[in-house]
């Protein structure tokens, strides 16, 4: 294999980067859009093919390349091993879909010059991160990805709140990169061995390794959206154009997961058992909190962004379990948990992209993303409604679609964990299981709301009433991803087998072969223990539904009459009498809101005879923001105010300040052991 595959991948990425200046040069021509998106589509497909080739080739020898870039004594190392290949495939599958979607969606872009140059650069940045094989290249690519996505978030900088979203994103991204920089600094040690191969060979001491774990959790977690570092995500993801939102939510968060997996599973050496407790606790909290936030939203894109936070939580639960098993030397269980987490990485990238495409289609058709101003779109946009329904069912983990498979595997991994000897985990893992189960049920509630309020019912505004079905390119992209949801759901065995080399390389074991099992069943541990067959479940549901329909229409009655809605005899013609997004989530807000959001409801009923309408005011607070971010922001403002006085000193005071600083530094150097 040698360096061929890595070089080919780098050439594709170079082509993507080269597209960016071309886009700037051509931005005034109408042809720029198809050229940029066409080039992005071609490059992503090429990268996808390269990644799949590496992932499925039996030899499994990583393909390595060193280019004379970057630090002169180091060069830029690239490596395409199975882990990189898997994430490269996830990235470029999403990128190909987004590029196809953008063929149609991008037509409505007001200022294409603010999107077109950064789009291929963003794709290139994400692919470079997973190829990087030294700390310098990794961090530069990471920052390149962050900044190009920041530029895309700021594409519509004149819209309300977008500038603020970009500001928060920039701060959190810099903070995350700083944490990663420190993590790599510790890993490289005093000698500065920045190549991953050197880092892999050196094992840091237990204390330093723990520090690296925390820094990796902060750095990668802030990019992925782990609670409480998620605050930028629901601001920034919705602000970008929809195909970029799909990439940021569906794909960029996965690059962050890659960063975490690469550092913790690969570079850091054998794990301590307690690492997994941190990861599991964070994952469980993230899963439930993300969904509770999502349920309270009425902006469709924000709802999807919060649901991304939830899914990241599920992925980290899988990774945490894998760490726990690996730390206790249970390789097979670790392989199962890791496969579950990585399969959810793939699945989430598929259905979250699909859902963002759907919202993009709605946005193009109506100009609205506030659910309270939509409704009844299933009549005007039947195809978008259908594919969006598939996405909603998949993300709600309903069988036989793909979301269920990865959650099922995670549950199977949890059921293996009583064998773990340590007591902390014995208490934590069942609680995490309960949180995972809670988030699965809440996800269904959340997406019933998202779909029901947006697509079902009656249109709430004239714009929703006049919506038009979207173009063919967007529909094709959505249909492809909906089909992938079904395929990955009914033949999960192939996807699990494709992940086997990744598990083998990271935890030293793999799940049993699934492709040989009859009827495409999956059997994670043993036949008598648990098995699931999506294909049969799908066929059973389809055939029994068809049999029922056929028998009833033949033997009983197939007559149908349209009439006014019954509504217990009191139908109201006005669409405002329908349930809204807020009223739909009111019961759940009442159950969980008092604790999680310090929610308060106030009812104002005017006295009899007064004609003012009654009012219900619900007040929700973001406690994480109030308790964690507001004090930090306040502290920064306060000290900035104080430090401001330094700028108005006399020259004498300045000189004495400089002198004092010099003396203190020299003293430190003298005293330092």
């Amino acid at each position: 294999m040698g360096s061929l595959m890595a070089l080919l991948a780098i050439m594709c990425i170079a082509a993507l980067i080269a597209t960016a200046p071309v886009a700037i040069a051509m931005s005034n021509f109408p042809l720029a859009r198809p050229i940029v998106y066409g080039a992005s589509l071609a490059a992503s497909l090429a990268l996808l093919i390269i990644a799949l080739t590496v992932l499925t080739q039996p030899s499994g020898v990583p393909s390595v390349a060193v280019l004379p870039l970057g630090l002169p004594w180091l060069g830029a190392h690239f490596r395409l091993d199975v882990l990189s290949a898997f994430f490269l495939a996830v990235i470029n599958l999403g990128a190909a879909g987004a590029s196809l979607f953008a063929f149609g969606y991008g037509r409505k872009e007001h200022a294409p010059v603010r999107v077109l140059p950064f789009y291929p650069a963003f794709l290139a940045g994400m692919s470079l991160v997973v190829l990087a094989d030294d700390a310098f290249t990794f961090l530069v690519s990471w920052e390149f990805m962050s900044l190009s996505s920041w530029a895309l978030v700021m594409a519509r900088h004149r819209e309300r709140d977008n500038a603020y979203a970009g500001y928060v994103y920039l701060i959190m991204a810099s903070f995350g990169t700083l944490a990663l920089l420190l993590a790599f600094g510790i890993l490289a040690g005093a000698d500065g061995g920045y190549a991953f191969a050197t880092i892999r060979a050196a094992h840091p001491s237990a204390g330093l390794a723990a520090l690296v774990l925390i820094l990796a959790l902060i750095g990668a977690g802030s990019k992925a959206g782990l609670v409480p570092l998620h605050v930028w995500l629901p601001l920034a993801h919705p602000a970008a154009p929809s195909h970029v939102s799909a990439l940021m939510s569906g794909v960029m968060t996965k690059v962050a997961v890659y960063g975490f997996v690469r550092i913790v599973f690969d570079l850091l050496g054998p794990p301590e058992w307690w690492w997994s407790m941190v990861v599991l606790a964070l994952g469980g909290t993230t899963a439930v909190m993300g969904l509770l936030y999502a349920l309270m939203q009425r902006d469709l894109k924000r709802l999807l962004a919060y649901s991304t936070v939830e899914n990241i939580g599920i992925i980290f639960i899988g990774l945490g379990l894998a760490l726990a098993f690996k730390g206790h030397g249970m390789e097979f269980a670790a392989a199962l948990a890791l496969t579950a987490g990585l399969l959810h990485v793939f699945n989430h990238s598929i259905f979250k992209s699909l859902l963002f495409f759907g919202v993009g289609a709605v946005l193009n058709a109506t100009g609205e993303r506030d659910m309270e101003r939509l409704g009844g779109l299933i009549h005007r946009m039947p195809q978008t409604a259908f594919v969006f329904l598939v996405g909603c069912a998949a993300i709600s983990a309903l069988p036989p679609l793909n979301g269920f498979v990865s959650e099922w595997l995670t549950f199977q991994a949890i059921l293996l964990s009583p064998q773990i000897p340590s007591w902390g985990l014995k208490f934590l893992v069942p609680a995490v299981g309960a949180l995972l189960a809670l988030s699965a049920a809440l996800a269904a509630a959340c997406f019933v709301k998202a779909y029901g309020v947006t697509f079902l019912g009656r249109p709430r505004t004239p714009t929703a009433e006049r919506a038009q079905e979207v173009d063919q390119f967007s529909l094709t992209a959505m249909y492809v991803f909906a089909a992938l949801c079904l395929v990955a759901g009914i033949m999960p065995g192939f996807f699990i087998d494709a992940l086997a080399p990744v598990a083998q390389s990271l935890v030293g074991a793999r799940m049993p072969f699934q492709s040989g099992i009859e009827w495409l069943s999956i059997v994670p541990i043993a036949q008598g223990r648990s098995s699931y067959n999506g294909l049969l479940v799908f066929l059973f549901i389809v055939s029994s539904g068809m049999i029922a329909a056929f028998a009833i229409h033949r033997l009983a009655s197939d007559k149908l009459r349209r009439g006014p809605a019954w509504d217990c005899g009191y139908p109201d013609a006005s669409p405002v009498t329908q349930y809204t997004a807020d009223s739909f989530s009111q019961p759940i807000r009442r159950v969980f809101g008092a604790v999680v959001f310090a929610a308060r409801e106030q009812v104002e009923i005017p006295p009899p005879g007064d004609l003012r309408p009654a009012r219900l005011t619900a007040e929700l607070r973001d406690l994480i923001w109030d308790w964690l971010y507001a004090p930090v922001a306040g502290g920064v403002m306060f000290s900035a105010d104080r430090l401001n006085r330094l700028q108005f000193l006399t020259i004498r005071q300045f000189l004495s300040l400089v002198f004092a600083a010099l003396v203190i530094l020299l003293l430190v150097l003298a005293i330092w052991p």
Binding site: R529, L536, S544
Partner: protein
């Protein structure tokens, strides 16, 4: 030969649940009426209702979409498939390996997902109230159910329902605290999932108190028949589930002789009757609770399930 026998048993089970489900509803109604010293409708009244509904034309709201018309078939299919995978008179069903207990719960979850969507489709306020309360109840009932599944799976060492049922008959089970907790939680979840008193009232026609009935308010004719049939299948499923896990006596083993199958069938009918009777007795002796007391009720079920799982993590013998 064995495959043909297995196939026959599986087919027989699918037909049996379909035929018995309305009878179970009729039986519960009859017992409730007699306990209240009323005459009550005849046992076969649910069949008559279904046939009458099937023959009637569907009156569809003007605003109803294609999804509204597909959903009854989807719900019926998902519930029927789930129901035919729960052992009734014989364990080791032919297709039991295609979906374990987690998948069966998820299938019921799919049915509920689509039913809640149907409640929102026409765009009436009653449909919305039903859907939003249903998802609130489900968001607590489903995790409670999964915790129960965890408990049972940890005891039996399998999530496969047939293996679990087989293990429950064996003497290895013994008396366990966790099983008791799981049973109580399972009964609570079953009551909530089937929209029975005290969580919901299947007989109510007072709009503001309904959950399930409010969602299906706009359905008529064959669609309503399918949804009613699915609801009764779900009740049958939960009673069968409790019976095969907590009262597995008499159930025929795989490869049993015809006499054993007959005993199994008789035992199953007896268990259904006992379950139906207890349900009716429970329902007439308790009042419906306010809708915002339901989270406390289900929260208790969730905590019981979690406690049972935790006990098993601490020691395999509890």
């Amino acid at each position: 030969m064995a495959v043909i026998l297995d196939l026959t048993v599986q087919g027989a089970q699918m037909l049996l649940v379909l035929l018995l489900a309305p009878l179970l509803i009729g039986f519960v109604r009859k017992v409730k009426a007699r306990l209240l010293r009323r005459q009550g409708p005849p046992l076969i009244q649910p069949y008559r209702d279904l046939i009458r509904l099937l023959r009637k034309e569907v009156v569809l709201a003007e605003n109803a979409s294609w999804l509204f018309r597909v959903i009854p078939y989807l719900i019926f299919a998902a519930t029927w498939v789930a129901c035919s995978l729960v052992p009734t008179f014989r364990t080791g069903l032919l297709f039991s390996w295609s979906a374990d207990l987690i998948a069966i719960i998820a299938l019921l979850g799919s049915a509920r997902f689509f039913l809640a969507l149907a409640g929102l489709d026409v765009g009436t306020s009653f449909g919305g109230i039903g859907s939003s309360r249903e998802v609130m109840i489900a968001s607590l009932a489903e995790p409670a159910m999964l915790m129960i599944v965890f408990t049972l799976a940890l005891i039996a060492g399998s999530t496969q329902l047939s293996t679990m049922a087989g293990y429950m008959v064996s003497p290895a089970v013994g008396l366990r605290v966790s099983l008791g907790l799981a049973l109580i939680a399972l009964i609570m979840v079953a009551i909530a999932e089937n929209a029975r008193i005290p969580v919901d009232n299947p007989a109510t026609h007072l709009e503001l108190t309904m959950v399930h009935e409010a969602m299906v308010l706009e359905y008529s004719g064959r669609h309503l028949a399918l949804i009613d049939l699915s609801a009764s299948l779900k009740l049958l499923l939960y009673i069968s589930l409790i019976a095969c896990l907590f009262a597995p006596w008499g159930t025929a083993a795989p490869g049993a002789v015809p006499q054993a199958l007959a005993i199994g069938a008789a035992a199953y009918i007896g268990k259904l009757a006992a379950g139906g009777f207890l349900l009716a007795l429970f329902e007439i002796s308790i009042a419906k609770m306010r809708v915002f007391r339901v989270p406390e009720f289900l929260g208790a079920a969730l905590m019981l399930g979690l406690l049972a799982t935790l006990l098993l993590f601490v020691s395999r013998n509890l």
